[in-house]
Structures are given as structure tokens and as C-alpha cells.
Subunit: 508 residues, 2 copies
């Protein structure tokens, strides 16, 4: 069909512009001299504008309308998926008037600068009016995008297509109710583990070597990827055969780079595994932030913080860092890298407490959006929830409500995807385990190909053709649930900390 | 004026697209994994097409026509210069029909691949039909662009605006006649210098450190620049405050990286010195390839291969490489890095013989374009001229007629700019010396600011506002001439090799 070819040509131009934006952004975070910042902002604004103008042109709407009237065959096929997903993106992109987008961009820019200062001075009041504005704009954005049940649905749908607040509330309630006892039980126990290994000196070049060796075993090859250094680690995609990751190295805290690299490797392998047939179309990316996070957290936590993994790698790791690991055995190392401790900063949280940071943010976002909480009361509400969930209170707003960049960038409805990804990671791994009964033995032998092949087949290759819900149900046989994650946490950390899920009733 | 603002907005978009092309190309040569090549080609093609379409739109023509009817004030001012230079670029860009440009691109692509194979196999016949096609297309391009005297003028003008073949012929004739005796005189002398220092081991990290230290003293600061590694060294500009250079390091041939970095520093300082007022317009770049080369060759050769420079730096250099330089004194080092020897490869040639490589190419290009030479006879003509000028003959076409990439990329009329740059470098330096009588003392003291300030004032800041001819005449008080360069070569190399310009008549 001539119309299909024309649509693909336009979408190819958009994809190329978006890839160029990605390259310029990557360079900005990795290599750009500071002097380049002002011009780079102009270059990125121009490319983003051209991409948006090209994608939202009336011609794309005409071509979609024509194609939607044809028989496009199998709904899972390339053509039907392309038209369906392009329509979803097109409607979303055209529902927001240019004036609104510009107003939002200006407000975000101001909010971002205010947030940087507010955090540096730990002064919430500097950020408060900007945050009020962000939530006001979010409410208007939700109205413009439209929703059936809850305005938050419109926001969430941008990051997790098809997800709804009612479902997230239900899943998070299960998660909270069934893992809060674990947090309390671990906190109640004395912990005699020696964690000093985590802060010993690990040569940065050898950290890089080991991190990349494992990443290579996980499938990340230099033919289609590279690792660079940036202040904030990220993964970015210029093509399925050019996926890049970044990390930061701390000679006195090796977990940052090691688990960080393996986390980003999960993202990169997802992007690399998307069917090449989808290249230069809107289908060529991960299905959602949540599904993406399931891949990164699976490698970071489920694989690379597992006992099986270190049964395979600890000897080699020890040989590379003989001084730091001289009197450390596998078991104490395993416990150290799996330390559970309520802490203030989300990005440093362990597997057990991490989701409470997310649930806290989700609940506060909802309350702010619904109007049941005012921004001026946010710091107090934040601190109260931290006390409820984790039993700790930030000494300052910099360590509390001001710690994340997201709200200053207008990213409201984004946080839940982190926990959805965590839940999905275990649900997927359990499905993989059913298909691959020797999975733990493979992992202990450093053989990750069976798992990665299963993930490519069941998750990666589909790109954005399937919704997160479809990927979940087809790959695991059921809808997303907290059950697998809850079981995993109790099993793994119950064993490490010697606590059991149903505490025996005291007999006195 | 509203029309001026509209033109500047369009030109800003074009500039941003061109900068994005530069970033993507830089990444391609420095960091891109091999898997990214295919997608990168598509991205570059899309950005280049969008830049061309935006710049050649009918609206730009209308705005230019409107503005040209206004009083634009001082011809050297921003507005008049912007309109004048944009008109020049616009006419050139719109004179070539899209079909011709596409035909040329396809032919160049085929020629490039044929050239790679032909050079690898040293088989000119593989390249011959493609080179015939390149010259046929060049003749058609000259006709489309238009010219007054000679079709070569139309080609040359793309790289050296305002330059004409008649003038270049005259200048090159002077250069040839007055420096060929120097080549012959040096070749006739026995040379007892020990050149082994050039191929001793120099640690690559320390090469980088020293190269960057000097580059920093020349003005290149990490706030607005960086150095990376690529197979073929180059300089590229993303903004006047983001100018980047690349080099390649050879532990057994330090001059490649050292003089290479200082060469690229000359290019980078030119781009960095362009008046920031010209940013995001067609005026924000060097005036021509020749003027650009004058800046790179001035730092590489006139400054960094001078005795004064090494009087200042040799002690430090020796301290950084004590083993390689243990028994080397300043004078023998100075002679080693200024070795003159007829050789086959242009990019490895010394200051005395380099321009003969250029003159040879210029003369052959003219003969091929005029039809007085056929492509099939080119290898023989090449080898004959090499024998005439430098007294050597390539053992194979790979070391001869096939050595340069330029013709395979359709770059005909480009080579003369290298020698025009060499000539201008000395003419400019002599003018700077008249204004800065202590120049050599400054250089010996590692103080380059007076020279760089003079260059910024007289060359850099103008960007493309002035033609090369205007820059030359205003900065030096006269038109471009071979005289200063000829005098420089005889003075410097006559002293090193003990030959004098007017050999005494033998008295026997």
C-alpha cells in the first residue's frame, strides 16, 4: 500500500530525529564540555520541535484514517500493530495544544532550576510554588488527554500504557500489607553481619573490567553497545544495534557501578532484543517503563544479587580484588550485598524497602492530584509516611521530599512504574523458571543464554507491539500480581535474616 | 525587521540541524560501536535532507529578496554580511537540482567503495571508471554553478570563496620556481643527522598529557573543547564554545599525535574565536578551507616546529620522556622534527616538499577537467610529476594516485586550499610579527596569548563575514603571495641544511 509506505517514510524521519536527540543527550551527559550547554539546549529544542511537528502533521492523521479503514490482518502483525500504536501516540501528541506544551516546558524549566536550589539549601518553600504549578498543569494535562475513571489514569497511561490507578492501588495494597511485616521483622532483629566489605577500596579499572565481563556474559557485546561514565547512570538507544549504558564509579562503594552496570544491561538487552523489523517505527522500543524496569531489576537483583550467581562468580571476583576480599567468604559477601536497612534515599534502597519509597510517592501524588492534600503540607505528610513505613524520619527536606528530580520535570504518574517493574521481574522470572527448570544451575555456571533467550522470545522482540498487560499475561499466564514478589522477598530475606512469614504465636 | 527575524529563525534551525549532523558524525568516528553504522547512515541522511530542504525553501529566497531591497547598513556589519553570505550559499544550494545531487551522491558512494578496494589491491583499473564519472559530474556541476573564466573556478569557489584558477596558477608557479631549487639542494646534500629519536618509544598517556598541556597554552581549554581518538584526525564544531579535536597515538612515532593535536588546535581556536554574535547563522564558521588551514599550519609548523618553541619546551619534554631523550640535545631534536625528505605520501610530507604534492594534484585536476589528460593516463602522469618534482616514483598506485580519499568523494578543486593555507600562514605570521616585535621571545617563553589575540582580532572573529581575500589584505596589507612562504622556507631550511638561496658560482 502506497499510504503505508508514506506513513513509514514519515515515521522513519521522526525516528531518525528522535535518535539524533538521543545521541545529543548522551553526549551532553558523558563528554560535552560545559561551554556547549547553551547551544546544545537550542539544538535539542530544534530537533524535538521538528520531530513533534513531523509526527503531528495532518498528513499522518489522514494516512492513519485511511489505513484504519483497511483490513490490516493479524492484530499482532507488523502493519496492524504499527497503525494501532501510531494512532495511540498520535492522539496523545495532538491532544495537547502547542500553547499548553510550551507553557508546560517553561514552567518545568523554572521548576527544575528552583528544585536544584531548594534541594541544595534544603528549603522546600523555594520549590513549593513551582510544585503547585506542576500539579495544576498535571490536572489540566489529564483533562486534555482524557480519562474514564481517575485523572491519574491519564498521566500513568503515558508511562505504562493501559495501566489504571484502581489496579495499581489494589496491587500496591497487597504488596504493602504483605511485606510491611517483613520490614518490621528485619528491623526488629539484631544484625551481626559485617558490612565493611561494601566500603573497602576496589580499583575502578578492575571494577569496570569485572562489570563488563559479566555484562558480556549477560549478552551485552561491544559490537552493539558501549559503557561510558556519567553523573547519573542511564541507558539510551540509537538503534537496536547501538545501545549504550553509563555508570559512575566509586572506589569505596563498588556496588554502585557493578549492580548499576548490570541494571542498565537489562535495559540495553531489552532494546537490543526488539525485532529489527520494527526499526525506525514507533514500535521499536520497550513496551513501557514498567516492563523496562522488570528487565533491569531482573538482572540487577534477581540474577546478580542471587546466591547462585555468586556461587559462580565469587572466586573470580575475589581473585581480582584479593586485598578487599581476603577474609570474606561467599556467604558473608552474599549477605553484605543483600543488606536490608530502612533508609531515606530511594535510589539507595534495598529490595525489601524500595517499594515503600514508591508507594509513599504514589499515595502522595494521588492525594495532591485529588486535592485532599495541599502542597504546603507535603513535607509533613512525606515524613509521616516515612515514619509509618520505614520507621525513620528525614533530618531535612533535601533527604526527604526534595530528593527526586521527577516532580520538578513534571513527571507525575511516573513513580509507580518502578514498583510495577519490580513485581513483574519476579513474575516473569518464575515463568522462565517453569520453562527452564535448570535455571539456577545455569546461573551458577555463568550461563545466562537460556534466560536471555526466553526473555527475548517472550518480552524483548515484541517491542511496543503488545501492551504491558498482554506481555505479562502471555508470558506468565496471568495478570500482574504482587504475589510472586512477596513470596520472593520472604523466601530470600526470610532466609538471610532468619525470620519466617507466619511468626509462631508466643506460647507464654 | 520582521523578515530579518524570520530569516534568522530559519537559519537557526538549519544551524542546529548541521550541528546535530556534526555531533552524529563525531560520535561515528570516535565512539560508535560497529553495529550502529547502518542506522547512523540513515540518521545522517535524514538530518542532512531536512537541513537542505529547510535552507533551500522558497521562503528563504523571498526573505533574501526583500532584505536585499533594504538599506542594510555597513557591509561589514552583521545584517549586511548575513544577507550577502546567505545569498551566496542559497544560490549555490539551489543551482544544483535535487536529481543532480542525488545522482552525484550515488556515484560518490559507488566511487568511495571502489576506491577502498582499488587502494587495498593497488589496482587503479578498479577505480578508473568511477574517477571518470567523478570528473564528468564535476564538469556538469561547474556548468550548473556557473563561472566566468574557467570551470575549475566554480569548483574551487565552493571551498575557497572568491579564489580563481588564474590567480592560483600564478602563485603556485612562483612557489614552484622558487622552492624547487631548495628541494634539489637539500636532496643533493648528504644528511648526517640522527633521526632515530622520531621512532623511539614515547608513552601514549604522556604524549596526550604533553600535547594537551601545549594546546592549553595555545588557548584550548577544557571548558570549551575536548580531545578524543579517531582513525583519521579531525576538528569539528558544535558551537564556538564546544570545539572538538581528535588524534591518533603511535607510541613509536610521537610527531603524529603531538603535531597533529597542535594542528587541530589551530582549527579549533579559529572556530572558538568566531564572534559569538554570529552563532546559529551561516556566518559562524571559518572563512574558507584555506584560511582554516593557515591557522592549523601556523600552530603546527610555524610555532610548534620552531626553534623558539622548543627553546621553551624542550627541557620539560625531556623530563617527561627521559629515556627516549636521554642523549638528545635541543639542536638535534630540532633538526629531527624538521627533517626534509622527498616522500610518496602527502599527509606525511615535510614543510618543504608538501606543496609539491598539492601542485601535482592541482595540475592533474586541471588537465583532467580541461580534457587534456585522460583518466586512463593519470597514473603515468602522476608518476612523471612525482619524478619531476621530488625525484621519486611510487612503487605502486596505492602509494601514488590512489592515496587520497578526496576524488572518490567528488572533492575536486579542494586540494589547492592546503597550499593556499600554507602560504597564508606565513604571510599572516609575518604581519603579526610586525605588530608584535617580541613574538619569538614570547614563543620561547611559552606565551602564545599575544599571537592568539592578534589572530582573533584579525582573522577568527570575522567568521565568514569577510572573504579570504579580504581577510588576507586587511590583516597583511597585501594580496596573497608566495613570497613570504618562499623566504621562510629558505631561511629556516637553508640554515638547517646549510644551503643558501643564491648558490655562489663555482670559481673553477
Amino acid at each position: 500500500m502506497q499510504q503505508l509506505e508514506e506513513l513509514k517514510t514519515i515515521l522513519g524521519t521522526v525516528a531518525d530525529l528522535n535518535s539524533a536527540v538521543a545521541v545529543l543527550s548522551w553526549d551532553q551527559e558523558t563528554y560535552m564540555p560545559e561551554g556547549g550547554a547553551e547551544a546544545r539546549a537550542a539544538q535539542l529544542a530544534t530537533l524535538t520541535r521538528l520531530s513533534h511537528e513531523t509526527f503531528t502533521s495532518a498528513r499522518v492523521g489522514e494516512l492513519l484514517a485511511f489505513l484504519e479503514a483497511q483490513d490490516l490482518g493479524d492484530p499482532d502483525g507488523f502493519v496492524a500493530s504499527l497503525v494501532r500504536v501510531t494512532r495511540r501516540d498520535y492522539d496523545r501528541a495532538t491532544k495537547l495544544p502547542a500553547e499548553f506544551v510550551q507553557e508546560q516546558a517553561l514552567a518545568q524549566n523554572a521548576a527544575h532550576h528552583a528544585w536544584i536550589r531548594a534541594r541544595a539549601e534544603s528549603n522546600f518553600e523555594l520549590f513549593r510554588p513551582h510544585l503547585e504549578r506542576m500539579f495544576e498543569l498535571a490536572r489540566r494535562q489529564a483533562d486534555l488527554l482524557g480519562y474514564e475513571e481517575h485523572p491519574y489514569d491519564a498521566l500513568l497511561d503515558q508511562y505504562e500504557p493501559g495501566a489504571r490507578v484502581a489496579e495499581v492501588r489494589r496491587i500496591f495494597a497487597d504488596l504493602r500489607d504483605q511485606t510491611l511485616p517483613l520490614v518490621k521483622a528485619i528491623a526488629a532483629r539484631g544484625d551481626a553481619t559485617d558490612y565493611s566489605v561494601l566500603t573497602r577500596y576496589f580499583n575502578v579499572d578492575r571494577q569496570r573490567e569485572f562489570a563488563l565481563k559479566v555484562a558480556g556474559a549477560l549478552g551485552l557485546q561491544p559490537q552493539f553497545s558501549r559503557l561510558d561514565v556519567s553523573a547519573h547512570p542511564f541507558q539510551t538507544t540509537f538503534d537496536h544495534d547501538d545501545v549504550r549504558i553509563t555508570t559512575r564509579f566509586d572506589p569505596h562503594f563498588f556496588p554502585a557501578a557493578l549492580f548499576g552496570v548490570w541494571h542498565e544491561t537489562g535495559h540495553a538487552m531489552y532494546e537490543h532484543g526488539v525485532d529489527p523489523e520494527l526499526a525506525r517505527t514507533p514500535l521499536a522500543a520497550g513496551a513501557s517503563l514498567g516492563v523496562h524496569e522488570s528487565q533491569s531489576r531482573m538482572l540487577e537483583n534477581l540474577v546478580c544479587r542471587s546466591r547462585a550467581f555468586w556461587q559462580g562468580y565469587f572466586g573470580e571476583f575475589q581473585a581480582m580484588f584479593p586485598e578487599a576480599l581476603e577474609r570474606v567468604d561467599l556467604e558473608s559477601f552474599y549477605r553484605a550485598i543483600n543488606r536490608v536497612e530502612p533508609s531515606l534515599i530511594r535510589v539507595e534502597a534495598d529490595e525489601v524497602t524500595y517499594n515503600f519509597h514508591i508507594m509513599l510517592r504514589f499515595e502522595l501524588e494521588l492525594a495532591l492530584l485529588e486535592g485532599s492534600l495541599e502542597v504546603k503540607d507535603l513535607p509533613a505528610a512525606w515524613n509521616a509516611k516515612m515514619q509509618d513505613y520505614l520507621g525513620i524520619t528525614p533530618a531535612s527536606d533535601a533527604e526527604g521530599v526534595l530528593q527526586d528530580i521527577h516532580w520538578s520535570a513534571g513527571l507525575i504518574g511516573y513513580f509507580p512504574t518502578y514498583s510495577l517493574g519490580n513485581l513483574l521481574s519476579v513474575q516473569l522470572l518464575e515463568a522462565a523458571r517453569r520453562a527452564l527448570p535448570d535455571l539456577d544451575a545455569h546461573i551458577a555456571a555463568g550461563q545466562f543464554a537460556p534466560l536471555m533467550t526466553w526473555l527475548r522470545e517472550n518480552v524483548h522482540r515484541h517491542g511496543r507491539k503488545l501492551l504491558p498487560r498482554q506481555i505479562t499475561e502471555r508470558a506468565t499466564g496471568e495478570a500482574l500480581t504482587a504475589r510472586y514478589y512477596v513470596d520472593y522477598l520472604w523466601r530470600k530475606f526470610g532466609e538471610i535474616y532468619g525470620v519466617s512469614r507466619e511468626p509462631a504465636v508466643s506460647a507464654d
